[in-house]
Amino acid sequence: MKKLEKICTIVGVLLLVAGLSLTLGFFVERETHYQNILNANHAKAYYASLDAVSDIEMKLNKLTVASGSNVEKELLNDVWMNSEIAVVNLGELAGKNDEIEKVTKFVNQLGDYSYYLSSKLPEEPIDENERELLNELYKITEELLKELIKAGESVNINEGLYVKLDEAVATLKGVFDMFNNSIDYPEMIYDGPFSDGLIQRDAKYLVGKDVVDRESVEGYITSKLGFSASFLEEINGNIPSYVFTIEDVGSVTISKQGCVPVQYASSRDVGEKAHSQEECIARAESFIAGLGFAGMRAVWASESEDLVYINLAYEENGVIYYPDLIKVKIAQDNMEIMGFDTTGFIYNHTERTAVEGVKDKSEVKVSDKLSVTSIRLAVIPTEWNKEIATYEVAGTYEGKIYYVYVDAFSLEEVKVMRVIMDENQGALIS
């Protein structure tokens, strides 16, 4: 009996050791497998960043001696394209803090600036100041490339770098330090999507309006919006505002200057649809007019889950001003206003002067393939933070709806938009 117990004990212990060893082995194997995949991704991101920055450096270098606008345009477009690739891959090398932001910002703005210069060519050649700036940017990119190469040499990128997280971040330390300490990169003065100009924006509509106190705003919310709201906080920024909460519903924001409603967002389950889109559009127009925004008309509406999203733009003398935009969300069960946003209007609306000197509507030419349904004058915002007067041409081709925007002065096409055909498709209201 004793012998049997002894054998059982030994067998039990051996089984236990074998089981634990197997489990451990399984874990180690699986961990190694995952680490290899992660390392490969990390190494790929590093090499792709290196390739892209290397290309940018070479193209900027060539730009210092190039003088023909065709070649310049090609080189600038290459810089722009490679900056996009570099940003995607640098993003994957990010560390636990915000150090990567400065590098990303530099590369993004460099690409954006190159695109800006390229889009001006050949009509507006690169001037001396721009050429000097490009040369400075080249020198910084040269340094960035050196640091990136150094980072790769300092550790073996291919072996387990991703696992050693701290080391991974440290790899790019030289690059981060460069942007934190030794490089004071020049401001790229232009109006592009990534320009610093967009961070600080003027609220044109609020200029000259008096600042109101909190109590007055509270009274306004009750009388005009019909909410019982309680004060939450003040926000400073481009549109200094008061924020009020509406219990169980959402919150509403009102500007301090001029007591202008800025935003309201709420959510609830919407019951069965009882009102048409047209009714909701009429409701949105009267609601916005009631808030004191005159001359607004619905220009776009889309439905989603029995909610209608309506965009209203300012109209004067038959011209639609798309930058002066207000958005309204209405529930189709009882036509309750579920949200609004007037920031587009507040940032952009100012006294509009008549659009004069444009070509006649009859001169507008678009692709023969398009069956044109309407043409109207519209001022649209450009990605360069400017506005241009255009003819908005609505049309269809192979069952799809397109909007083509043609410069009203030069008759050049500036933008083509296609309505995405899903169940939420919207429609321009002409």
Partner: protein
């Protein structure tokens, strides 16, 4: 003192049982895909919303349900679901899980909010909102989505929604896997509002919970506003 028999009985056997249980647990845990962490979307008594209304409508059309289509999963809905399950060879537990939903011809996963949008961006954004801000006020959920979109527009971050969300260590929900949870209807609505241009933060690029944030650098950012438990900053 313990006899050899007692040692075997009281020490070796329990150790062996514990060790085997532990090993089985580890192996089961190890071979279960991490995706299983994702919360299975189910509808049960107490649920409400558009999806419940869809279930009620379907059951009513098929003659299983005679109550009101009110979007509230009450006892009558439970009975109707059980009836449906029995008739369709399913476990009659009165809960609409994956199998029952599939038998009804509805999907509870990403479209639990009843959205008909196929946009992967919307879905990804809604998952981030749900994982990061469920339980926050509605405006707070829109604000989280808006911060992600503000980052897409900012020069300091990647230029796509997926690039921003999956940037290493940018959002804790990616690290702990909560990004894979199916978003609820509110998160989808919040994401949709943000994609439609609502930004309660006026351009903020960061947010954190002051009670739980451990990074000192984020506390140096300029705070613009507080919504629920999150402070939003630039």
């Amino acid at each position: 003192m313990f006899s050899q028999k007692n040692i075997y009985k009281y020490i070796c056997v329990p150790i062996a049982i514990i060790a085997i249980t532990f090993s089985v647990f580890i192996i089961v845990t190890a071979v279960t895909p991490s995706g299983a962490d994702a919360e299975a979307a189910v509808l049960k008594q107490g649920s409400s919303g558009a999806m419940v209304r869809t279930v009620q409508t379907k059951l009513k059309n098929w003659g299983y349900y005679s109550g009101a289509i009110d979007g509230i999963y009450g006892s009558r809905t439970v009975s109707a679901v059980k009836y449906f399950q029995r008739r369709n060879g399913l476990v009659a537990d009165g809960i609409v899980g994956k199998k029952t939903a599939s038998a009804m011809g509805i999907s509870l996963s990403s479209s639990s909010g009843g959205t008909s949008s196929n946009s992967s961006d919307l879905n990804l954004l809604a998952r981030a909102v749900y994982a990061e801000a469920r339980g926050e006020p509605y405006t707070g959920q829109v604000a989280v989505a808006a911060v992600i979109l503000n980052r897409v527009r900012s020069s300091s971050f990647p230029n796509t929604i997926s690039g921003v969300i999956y940037q290493p260590w940018a959002f804790t929900c990616v690290n702990d896997g909560q990004i894979n949870l199916a978003p609820n209807a509110t998160a989808l609505k919040a994401a949709k509002d943000a994609l439609n241009g609502w930004d309660p933060t006026y351009g903020c690029l960061f947010y954190y919970n002051p009670k739980t944030a451990t990074n000192s650098w984020i506390r140096q950012k300029e705070v613009r506003l507080t919504i629920g438990r999150h402070v939003f900053c630039v």
